[in-house]
Assembly symmetry: C2
Homo-oligomer: 276 residues x 2
């Protein structure tokens, strides 16, 4: 199986956290990377009008906005504000022609230990924004995260749990699922769960798990530097019918966020060809 | 549901890593804690004969030895040496009248990314020591660990994956499974998987997940300090028929391993009454 060709490569804006909104997309364009996923903080820095100009100028296609509100957490007022935030981001997607809004459920609030209650909050939150998503032609794409961030980012920790959640939500025309290899590589049921998730699979995120990782969230590796067999997972995903881009999403406070963006992007182009 | 009474409390020797073999058991005896699980490094420090004397003197009952060899990892020679190590520890169990040898599969070797191959190695390793375990009347008890230590400690990360493994091994008279709440609390399928695992469930390990945890392995919390609803999990386990002890196993390099053992033990007695 050959590596990922440039025309299928997407690099998430957050991978170039060291850059501003425009600088990151200009860097991708310079290297011929055709797609990105917009990072909410960078969008908030410049606003929708400026973002649209940069996207038009660079011709980099935004396949998703990361991320919507985390609606599992907190009291009713906090959850309502996360629902409002999600509505605004659905509008941003519609304004910028972005098809997917990536969604995390959120984890547990301070002093909370009830995962099922948090999951139910998230389910109700999703349910309340589905009409806006549907009307705007935007898809809410649920991303399970690694169990080690269950406490503060996502009570949905497997592809199977994401499918159960979406089964219950019952809004397949306005939802989908994202598979991030960093979150799910350890799951021996992943090949089976990929087949189950296939009809809903909208995004395929790739990075690597460093053997000596030092942070629960911000120490992801470049494909080839860690323990994940990204090519095998890509094969499972494509065998199940997935034809979307390969999206590189690397949170790396101690390493890649400190390098020059041009070096990071050319490294990614090489690594996705060799290891993904 | 009431908290755990003292007569059902087991405190793993590793929880008192600051103590030598004898000192840790003497401390448990002083507080009326009737059971422990022996930690392999502490046993190796003193040897079987001295260990036997301390166990007799203190009358603390050893319900398990932690842990056997990690047979998933490395080349054929390394795996053979882990199999030998497991055999020696089965003998230690038999010599000391310990019914269970806790087993971890091990993770991935250096440069390896093939989880299924590692799992297969572990399965072959287990298979090769089952006759000795059976002959010695010692049970090999497989413990799934948290997915964040998949790379270096265990390719088995869920209760369901542990049951699949034991199904395949097909040696129920000489094997079993351990549930550690720290490893599995995030799994939304845990109540269902507990019902499946119930006939094999031999050990129930408890600690807490600290919201701001700082280490993949050695930063566990005391029940009540974190995000795990240990009482709810205990209820699931007991509803499924489990009647064994509640075993406290806390690896805590930055906190509890630095406290006086008497303080740690009295804190545990209180916490298991209040939160487990």
């Amino acid at each position: 199986m050959a590596g990922v060709p440039l025309e299928r490569l997407c690099i998430h804006q957050v991978t170039l956290m060291q850059c501003g909104f425009a600088e990151s997309l200009e860097c991708l364009a310079r290297h011929g990377v055709p797609m990105t996923a917009i990072w909410h903080e960078k969008l908030d820095e410049v606003g929708v009008a400026a973002a649209r100009r940069v996207l038009t100028d660079t011709q980099v296609e935004p396949v998703a906005l990361c991320v919507g509100g985390t609606m599992a957490i907190g009291d009713a007022a906090e959850r309502a504000s996360q629902i409002e935030l999600t509505r605004r981001r659905i509008e941003f997607c519609a304004d910028l022609g972005i098809e997917s809004l990536l969604m995390l459920t959120g984890g547990l609030g301070s002093g909370e230990t009830d995962l099922l209650a948090a999951r139910l909050n998230a389910l109700e939150g999703f349910d309340s924004v589905v009409p806006e998503a549907r009307a705007a032609g935007v898809r809410l794409v649920l991303e399970p995260l690694h169990p080690m961030v269950c406490g503060f980012r996502s009570v949905i920790s497997t592809l199977s749990a994401a499918c159960d959640f979406l089964d219950e939500l019952d809004a397949d025309d306005a939802t989908g699922v994202a598979l991030d290899t960093y979150a799910l590589w350890w799951d021996l049921n992943l090949p089976r769960d990929i087949r189950r998730a296939a009809p809903r699979l909208r995004h395929f995120h790739v990075s690597d798990w460093l053997a000596e990782t030092t942070d629960l969230r911000l120490d992801r590796g470049m494909p080839g530097d860690g323990l994940i067999n990204n090519r095998a997972i890509r094969r499972s995903v494509e065998d199940a019918g997935f034809r979307g881009p390969v999206e590189i999403e690397i949170f790396s406070k101690r390493h890649w966020w400190r390098e020059s963006p041009d070096e990071v992007v050319s490294e990614i182009v090489q690594r996705t060809s060799d290891f993904v």
